[in-house]
């Protein structure tokens, strides 16, 4: 039989038992909808996580520390530390050397220092962190109050919300106000002339003040990266932080170890941003070979991917249960149809229908139910996703958090949903179709 005639007859047969076939199709649709909704949740969460993480720069960064570091990543076990006694200092020379490596976008130090903030005549203790210009795109400042630094050298400050609340519970009223930053500036000391017992170098710490204008309040902790010494709660542009020459925690360590020179301060750690996550591994190895400690989140990223693959697989298995029930529905519908249409099958065979024609007819009917169920299911799954996205947005809004899409239906999922529904329906139609094809026409014509 020609395919057009075959589909004509199939549609006619489906229309004849409209209620039963619609319910079967609805069963498939519910199965596909649950599949699409579950997988779109998996995809949405994965998108959300990877977008946030890649925007944060964590996965394309290498965190570099001197091998003499006492703690933190790169410090390594005691045996390594002993072996690294002659390791290179992480100073400006090292910074420019790393900057010149291929596939490096930027290198910046993690500058954090203790300070006292004077606001409205009252003192507040906090940690100040320098932020590179590139951190604006990290996503950490999405939905912040106020705005990001107007320039890399602006005397401006962004406050972390917990610290801002200490200054004024009405955090929005802080924006535009000024504060005074009191910090210890490192000033190099000359070696005592003629005193050979004294090693050269050393520095003094002198109290300094800096006037800053508050331009924003942020809810996240943008400066809580790796290799640092706690979160910065008052954020200033990194170039400004560097000009302050504030005494760092590692300064004291370097003096005690004798690795410090008074005029060339070293960095506690450097963050090296690569062009992309694929360059991170090679970069990490190169930096390690240069005599520094290096650490990246690449392994954590791989772990995250594995987690999402397993997560998606579990969602797929659970949602497939609904589709499995729908499959049984198709088999039941078609087997019932064979019983009902036994005589009709006999007539068709008497008129010259081959076994293959009968098989194809039932196959097409199953496929059509799958096609409609697939379309309906994808639409339904999309609607469920939209509804849950809306619900999530409302909930997050009530919590004063920026809205996120936890459901995402990519094109491949739409095609997969429809294709899978057709495939499952055809598989479900296999047994009924071959049973109908095998029907003995003499017996079928005798059937009342």
């Amino acid at each position: 039989m020609k395919s057009r005639d075959l589909s004509d007859l199939a549609f006619r047969n489906l229309r004849e038992a409209a209620l039963r076939n619609s319910l079967t199709t609805l069963g498939i649709a519910v199965g596909v909808a649950s599949l699409v909704a579950m997988l779109s949740l998996g995809v949405g969460l994965q998108e959300l996580a990877s977008k946030r993480l890649s925007r944060s720069g964590l996965f394309d960064s290498v965190f570099v520390t001197p091998k003499t570091n006492l703690r933190g990543p790169g410090g390594g076990p005691p045996a390594q530390r002993a072996a690294a006694s002659n390791a290179r200092p992480l100073d400006d020379a090292a910074r420019s050397e790393i900057s010149s490596l291929p596939n490096v976008v930027e290198v910046y130090p993690q500058l954090r220092f203790y300070s006292e903030v004077r606001y409205d005549g009252k003192p507040y203790a906090t940690v100040v962190a320098g932020l590179p210009e590139s951190s604006k795109a990290s996503g950490a400042f999405d939905g912040m109050q106020g705005k990001f630094f107007s320039s890399a050298n602006a005397n401006e400050a962004i406050l972390q919300i917990e610290f801002a609340k200490e200054l004024d519970p009405q955090t929005s009223s802080l924006i535009g106000k000024d504060l005074i930053l009191r910090y210890g500036e490192r000033q190099a000391l000359a070696a005592h002339p003629g005193d050979s017992a004294e090693p050269s170098g050393g520095f003094s710490v002198v109290l300094k003040e800096k006037h800053l204008s508050i331009i924003g309040v942020v809810e996240t902790e943008p400066a809580s990266g790796f290799g640092g010494f706690g979160s910065g709660r008052l954020l200033i542009p990194l170039p400004v932080a560097e000009t302050l020459r504030a005494a760092q925690v590692n300064d004291l360590r370097d003096v005690v170890r004798g690795s410090a020179s008074s005029d060339k301060p070293t960095y506690a750690s450097l963050t090296v941003r690569a062009k992309g996550p694929s360059y991170v591994e090679a970069l990490e190895t190169t930096i390690k070979n240069m005599g520094f400690g290096a650490f990246s989140l690449l392994d954590a990223s791989k772990g995250l991917r594995i987690f999402f693959i397993v997560f998606d697989l579990l969602l797929f298995i659970f949602s497939s249960l609904a589709l499995a029930v729908a499959t049984l529905g198709i088999i039941n519908t078609l087997v019932m149809a064979i019983l009902e249409r036994r005589r009709e099958i006999g007539i068709l065979k008497a008129l010259g229908a081959a076994d293959g024609d009968v098989k194809q007819l039932f196959f097409v009917e199953a496929g059509v139910m799958g096609l409609f169920g697939g379309f309906l299911g994808v639409g339904l799954g999309w609607l469920i996703g939209r509804a849950l996205n809306f619900g999530t947005a409302v909930y997050l809004h009530r919590q004063n958090l920026p809205s996120v899409d936890i459901f995402f239906v990519p094109w491949w999922l739409v095609l997969f949903g429809i294709g899978f529904a057709i495939l499952v329906s055809l598989a479900a139609g296999l047994y009924p179709a071959s049973r109908a094809a095998r029907l003995d026409p003499v017996q079928a014509l005798r059937y009342e």
Partner: protein
């Protein structure tokens, strides 16, 4: 419609045909060693009581069933050696069937019912309407083309079934108790129609019936079956 088969040549030849069924440990001999020849253009009536094996024999000639012994030769082709696909083609092209209970599809109109064999034979859509009209015209049902079987009388339904059997222009028409569900007057009109078709189209007709008076009036020859055997080969009238 001209026939390409000269009268006198055997259209159907049954050579020691047997159809045995096994039921548990016993064997039912529905058709037992039947040999019969039907010349082209003949109207043969196959008579017999219920269970005599006449319908089973008709199903064997129709290619709906296969013999367990002997050979069913139609137009020089041995049906027992055909594959199921070849048998389906044979049913589409060589024979047309008419049943006691009409066997029209209730949800289709007459037109659609008559078109069904054309769809199975993959006849072009453009040719179908004319052929359906021609077949319905032949049985005087052209005006009822859009009706469903339930809207027609028994006689009209049987005429529609005859139109469906003729639409693919087969050489042989097989009728299984075509008057069984009809009153005597309608039955007579159906047999008159079959006779006209046989004469006008030169068709070979094998009709199973248990109504001897009607068979004697319309058929060229009567063959009688009993207990699966051919009791009388009959003689041409």
């Amino acid at each position: 419609m001209p026939t390409d088969q000269p009268n006198g040549q055997p259209a159907i030849h049954l050579d020691h045909v047997a159809r045995h069924y096994t039921l548990g440990e016993s064997t039912i001999r529905a058709v037992d060693d039947v040999s019969l020849t039907v010349p082209a253009g003949e109207f043969l009536a196959l008579l017999g009581s219920s269970g005599s094996g006449k319908s089973t024999l008709l199903n064997l000639i129709a290619g709906l069933d296969r013999p367990t012994g002997g050979a069913v030769i139609v137009n020089n082709q041995d049906l027992s050696k055909m594959s199921s696909l070849e048998l389906a083609r044979y049913r589409r092209q060589t024979v047309g069937m008419v049943f006691q209970s009409f066997n029209l599809l209730p949800r289709m109109t007459l037109e659609e019912n008559v078109e069904l064999p054309l769809r199975l034979a993959e006849v072009d859509r453009g040719d179908r309407a004319a052929r359906v009209h021609e077949a319905l015209e032949r049985v005087s049902l052209a005006k009822r083309a859009g009706h469903r079987p339930s809207e027609l009388s028994g006689g009209e339904q049987q005429r529609a079934a005859i139109a469906r059997a003729l639409v693919n222009r087969p050489k042989i028409l097989l009728a299984d108790e075509p008057t069984g569900n009809l009153d005597s007057a309608t039955g007579e009109s159906i047999l008159t129609l079959l006779r006209e078709i046989q004469k006008n189209l030169g068709m070979t007709i094998v009709m199973v019936t248990h109504e001897r008076p009607l068979a004697e009036r319309f058929a060229d020859r009567l063959a009688v079956m009993g207990d699966g055997k051919l009791l009388s080969n009959g003689a041409a009238r």
